[in-house]
């Protein structure tokens, strides 16, 4: 089975009338899946449904063929989870909590000892193993949380906003851990509203907005096709307003922004670079060069959302 996690038309209606859905996503084996969307868009609801923490009002959620709400034990044996805001019993030390988690995952005493050592090392918490979690910094708790999610080498990792509230140094450490996991061929689902992180780590991205899936595509494909073409033209002189107006009327040109001696154009549905080059070269400003940029995931997301709202 290449599909590990399938969410099909998930709808969740909360007691206070809040509604999320329909959300659909498919995560394949060894894939890093980035679930993106602004706060309150339904990312965490989706993740909690995958973990069996909430019962979908409508739709279907399966993890390697199992219904997580009905078989949470089976599913949680396969999944390692790190929550958006990790909270652990403050009176345990990192070592104690890792050991407990190993025991719950069914590891023997000897295996648990080795696993705790490995994870403390991996998360950079070796020197803090004996400290109570209540005294940990946010970044340390987040790293411990990721370590706990990796106990027993689960097949699937679900990380809800793993970079949330972590300082730059902590981010680099977490990013390194995730890169290592990706290299090891783990299936990872991680949510974020920071698209830069997703762009750097994910193979596939699922975009949710206002409780709905608005797009699901391979990141590479998305960056090339969906976002259109972004072109920066370097000029000898600042452009004349008439030239800018002409550029705006060109087929496929969505946006023209002039700043000093450069003009940025966003094209969609049609590649108008040749026409742009001709117009600018023949204009009073003169053309020094034309640079094509791929749009960032953030720009794509904004565009997808705008399309969805139309």
């Amino acid at each position: 089975m290449s599909e590990t996690v399938v969410v099909q038309d998930l709808v969740k209606v909360y007691g206070d009338g809040g509604r999320v859905g329909p959300i659909s996503l498919t995560v394949r084996r060894r894939e890093v899946y980035g679930l993106v969307g602004p706060n309150g868009s339904g990312k965490t609801t989706t993740i909690r449904a995958v973990l069996g923490l909430l019962k979908p009002t409508k739709g279907r959620v399966t993890v390697l063929g199992h219904n997580p709400f009905e078989k949470p034990k089976t599913v949680n044996q396969l999944i390692g989870y790190s929550p958006e805001i990790p909270v652990f019993p403050p009176f345990y030390t990192a070592e104690q909590l890792l050991t407990i988690t190993c025991r719950l995952k069914g590891l023997s005493r000897h295996e648990a000892k080795q696993e705790v050592g490995r994870l403390l090392d991996l998360t950079g918490l070796v020197n803090h193993a004996g400290r109570k979690i209540g005294n940990f910094s946010k970044g340390m708790v987040q790293r411990l949380s990721i370590g706990l999610s990796m106990v027993g080498d689960p097949e699937i990792l679900v990380l809800d906003e793993p970079m949330l509230g972590v300082d730059p140094v902590g981010r680099v450490q977490i990013r390194d851990i995730l890169r290592g996991l990706k290299k090891d061929g783990k299936t990872i689902i991680f949510s974020s509203h920071e698209l830069y992180e997703v762009e750097r780590l994910a193979d596939t991205v699922g975009m949710v907005y206002m409780g709905r899936t608005v797009l699901e595509r391979a990141v590479s494909e998305l960056l090339i096709r969906r976002g259109g073409i972004k072109v920066v033209a370097e000029l000898k002189k600042p452009p004349h307003p008439e030239t800018l107006e002409i550029l705006k009327t060109l087929r496929g040109v969505d946006e023209v922004v002039a700043e000093g001696q450069s003009v940025t154009l966003l094209m969609n549905g049609y590649d108008a670079r040749d026409e742009v080059a001709k117009i600018l070269a023949n204009s009073e400003s003169g053309l020094l060069g034309l640079k094509t940029l791929n749009p960032t995931l953030e720009e794509i997301f904004i565009k997808v959302v705008e399309d969805a709202l139309r």
Partner: protein, 283 residues
């Protein structure tokens, strides 16, 4: 099939968590303070009054908390055992590990109960030790295990009620207040009905008292103890309060009352946990 491993982890966790709670520690301290005050008062009494009691002084220390204080503590432990897990967000940690909801429920239930049992054991042996030290050799100590056991059984009513309100509301303070209102409401209603019944010589009101949740909870330990101790202990004036409690109930009826309330509360808590979402931590 429940995993022994998961249950052991959860029981240990709940005991440690209870010990980390200040509110509970204050209540525990007040139980031990009550013990000290009781024996301090008894030692100040004239020998003529204390004489017949001296051999059974342990009974007062062991039974005194079971009239109210231990039930208040039990409902607090019950209410916070589940509700605080949701409030703090630790329920997410446990329920995303390979444990079933039943294991989580039973583990938490047993953990809280284990904590209360340990406390009952401690203060009972504390009371027995002080009695022996202050009043000399104690009689009928063979009844002590039965007294301790029946106290543990009796706390089930308000422990389960606290657990159920905690699971239903998932707010520790609110559920403690609600369960506390049930306890004190029942206690007041029972006292009122008993007084009115005595004044009007109307035994039907006493029948109504039998359906209140405090009826079984408050009486079981004293009934069990005096059934075992028999006549000599009943003669003491200082034990009359407890014997008056024991005379109104038969053990089987008391157990039926306790079992009914406990089963109803636990079923409510379990249904809420099994069939509804795990509430997210309030951010």
């Amino acid at each position: 099939m429940l995993s022994v491993n998961a249950l052991e982890v959860l029981i240990t966790y709940q005991i440690r968590r209870a010990l980390a709670r200040k509110r509970l520690l204050i209540l525990i301290a007040s139980i031990f303070l009550l013990e000290v005050v009781i024996y301090l008062v008894l030692t100040r009494l004239p020998q003529t009054l204390i004489g017949p009691l001296a051999g059974y002084a342990w009974v007062i220390g062991v039974l005194a908390p079971s009239t109210a204080l231990i039930h208040v503590l039990a409902l607090m432990v019950g209410a916070t055992t589940s509700a605080e897990e949701y409030e703090a967000g630790t329920a997410d940690y446990w329920l995303t590990r390979p444990i079933t909801r039943l294991e989580y429920f039973v583990g938490n239930l047993a953990g809280g109960l284990a904590f209360i049992t340990l406390l009952i054991l401690f203060y009972s042996f504390f009371a027995a030790a002080i009695s022996s030290y202050v009043f000399g050799p104690q009689n009928g100590l063979t009844a002590l295990p039965a007294t301790v056991f029946s106290t543990v059984v009796s706390v089930l009513v308000f422990y389960s009620l606290g657990l159920a309100t905690g699971e239903l509301l998932r707010r520790s303070m609110l559920s403690t207040i609600l369960a506390g209102m049930v306890f004190f409401g029942s206690f007041i209603a029972e006292t009122y009905l008993t007084i009115v019944s005595t004044l009007n010589n109307d035994p039907s009101l006493l029948d109504a008292v039998r359906y209140l949740p405090t009826w079984g909870a408050v009486r079981l330990a004293s009934t069990t103890t005096f059934n075992m101790l028999g006549a000599p202990a009943l003669g003491s004036v200082f034990l009359r309060f407890f014997t008056s409690l024991s005379q109104t109930g038969e053990t089987a009826m008391l157990l039926a009352n306790i079992a009914t309330y406990t089963a109803a509360a636990l079923a409510t808590a379990w249904i809420r946990l099994r069939y509804t979402d795990v509430t997210r931590r309030a951010l």
